[in-house]
Structure formats: C-alpha cells, structure tokens
Symmetry: C2
Subunit: 210 residues, 2 copies
Amino acid sequence: MDLSVDLFKKLKSFSEPELQSEILKHGKILKAIKGDVLIKEGQHLNFLPIVIKGLLRVYQQKEDREILLYYVGPEQTCMMSLSSAYFDYSSAANGIAMEPTEILILPAHVIAEWQLKYPTWNRFIIKTFKSRYDELLTAFGSIAFKPIHVRVKEYLNGYVKNQKSQKIPISHLTLANELGTTRVVISRILKQFELEKKVKLFRGYIQVKN
Amino acid sequence: MDLSVDLFKKLKSFSEPELQSEILKHGKILKAIKGDVLIKEGQHLNFLPIVIKGLLRVYQQKEDREILLYYVGPEQTCMMSLSSAYFDYSSAANGIAMEPTEILILPAHVIAEWQLKYPTWNRFIIKTFKSRYDELLTAFGSIAFKPIHVRVKEYLNGYVKNQKSQKIPISHLTLANELGTTRVVISRILKQFELEKKVKLFRGYIQVKN
DNA sequence: GGGGTTATGTATCATTTGATACCGTCTAGC
DNA sequence: GCTAGACGGTATCAAATGATACATAACCCC
C-alpha cells in the first residue's frame, strides 16, 4: 500500500504539514496478520512502529511462563523500539499482532531529529514514555502487593469497563499468560468466583455478573 | 545557597550557555538531610528536582510493606516529577533523602519549553525516561519470575559489583523493604546462604564471600 | 461420525512465602 | 551501669501458589 495523506486521518497527533511530509517520505506501511511476531526479545531494533489499525501485544517471557506488559493500539507506539532508537539497545520484550494490524514503520534515526523540530512529535514521544511508564508502574505495584485472585478480579473489571461488555472472550490459559501465572491457578480462582456468583464460566469466555 | 556557575561543574549535561542562564534564573537549591521526605504518594508536584549531590530513594508503599523503585543520584532526576510536569498527575511513589542531599529545584512549566529549545535538555529528559523505564522493567521481570532468594542474591551481587566492596552495610529489615518482603523471610534466606558459606552475617552488615 | 486438539474441572501434593510469637544480643544515650 | 530500642535467630503455623496428573467436554476438520 502506498502512503497517502489519508494516513493522517488516522494519525491525528501529527498535524504539522512539514512533519507529515517527512513521515510520507521516510515511512513504510507494514501489514501484519494475527500471530505475526514483530519484535523478539534480544533483537536490535532500528525502526519505530506506530500502529495505525489493529493491536499489538507486548509481553515478557521466561521459559514457559509469560506476562503481559501492555498493548499497543492505534496511534500508539512501543517503548522497546523507542529505547532502541535513542540508544544502542536490544528489546527486552516480545511483540505480537493480536489481529490484522497496519503499522507505520519509521527509521530509527529520524526520531531524535524530529524531537527538536516538531512539537507534536515531541509531545507524542513524551506521552508514550509517560503512559508506558505509568502502566508498568501500576503493574509493578499490583504484582508486588496484590494476591493473584485480586489481580484476576481487576483484570476482569478492567475489561468490562474498557470494552463495555460483560462477556470476556478469553481462555483460562491466555488469562494465565496475561498475569504471569499458570492455567490451573486461574481455573481454580475463577471457579471460586463462580461459586461466589461473581461470574459465570463458559468454554472460551467469562460472563461477569453485576 | 546562591546559584552559581559552579553548579555546572557538577551538572555537566547542560552545556549550552543559554540553558545555563535559564537554569540560574529559574532554579533554586534545596538542601535535605537524611530522612527528609521530599515526595509523597498522591502529592501533586509542580517542580522538578535534579540531584546535585547525595542520594534519594524512591519507593512504593502499601500498608506496612514497601518496595524500592530506584535511587536518584547526582545529575539524575525523578520520573514522578517528570510525569507531573508534563501532565496533571500525582506522584505514585515516595521519595526520601538517604544522606545529606543538595537538590536543584526547577519549576515544572519550564520543562516542556526547554524540551524544544535545548538539545542537551532534551537528551537529559529522554535519557531519564529511558533509564527509569529500563530499571523498572528489570525489576518487574524479577518480581514476576524469580523467587525471593534469587532476588536477594542478585541484590547482594549488585551491591558488591557497584560499590566494589564485599561488605554490605544493611539490616535485614531494610533489605526486606528494598525487595518488598518481610524481615523474617530475609533472615531465613540469609541464614541459609550462611550455611552454604556464601555469606557471613554480622549485626548491621553482610559479608559476601567469593 | 471419528480423531485430534483445545478448553476446562479437579484432586493431590510440595514448596514458597508470610504471619506471629518469643527470645537473646547489641548499641546508643543517659 | 541501666534501659529502651534496634537487630537478628528461630520455631510454629497458615495460606498462597505451583506442579503434576488425569478426566471430561467442546470444537474443528476431514
């Protein structure tokens, strides 16, 4: 697909005409399908991916366990690449497409340059750093102080709040991987919640009661 | 104490003369003694503290448990304030002086402004974001995947490596607070290490063997 | 509908971590 | 020297979490 001015209907953050033409000049569009691994732990990155449409999941892995760091949605980018772009740095996490995803790929070298030239770009970068930091800090606080059943509860509540749906389409195994634990632990906790009439369990999804 | 050009012998990052004069114009020096609490969780911050000399400890607290986030040493600043400065935001952590500490205080509003005007300032801010993020990510990975005895071990090894001393002056309780656990757990683990001849325990300090 | 795969339920057991309690020792300040 | 408080050792118990194993059910593909 060619880059076009249409792009900026989706990326509203970048309003300066000059920045837009620089993006058109240096950027490429990448289309990923569900399951494509875009970033691997240890990999050196020399590009910055900005999601246009779709969703990336960024997570850490250790042996057969994994834990969610954050999702990258439209108009967002990924900390790992940002770090790599400024300093020599290899990714500390993995990134995978959760659904068909369109990504604007920018070469790393432009980032520092644009930082000083374009206020909206600068704001975009700072905002990314800040919000990713906040998310991580929240996750850190949770894992440090809260027992798993509370984290499960908060995950479910968070989903309901964000998606405005009581029906959460997730398997026990996937949920375990979001929270950094194992399937049996999640099944046990969910069953307990069901006994307490907080949720109803089905194959492939969880119904949260109010 | 008056601000003077001497300041920039200690803060080497800020080399532009114009930036220096802006710092002299807007900055104030604060002196803290050991134990002074400079930042409290929930507090709205409208200043950015840059440590000139000394050390701040930034940590999260929940009831009677706490866990270390990071230390702020000379020429460094603190993420909480940085976040507050860009957005309306209250601190998610506490900051306390560990020793007599001199701090350059800058009003929040200058930060975003200087971002675009002064490349060294820009670099300083980005570097802060990145290194704090990396630290937190490492800590997150540890707490998510590693059992406490491993984290204790890594803490001790890290100290030895950084301070180039085998003698670590820390009480069991303080160590527990660094790692987000309780004193008894730490005592138990250290005693086990001693039985394994890895360390030798004394009142107030730990001797690491090689 | 058969066969493989995925999802879930659940029991058993071990390990890790934490809570509580009590003790003795060291140290600083008087 | 006395004493309060900090520091460290340890025993006991409980709870949380994880590992393993096995069974059943649902789903998909052919």
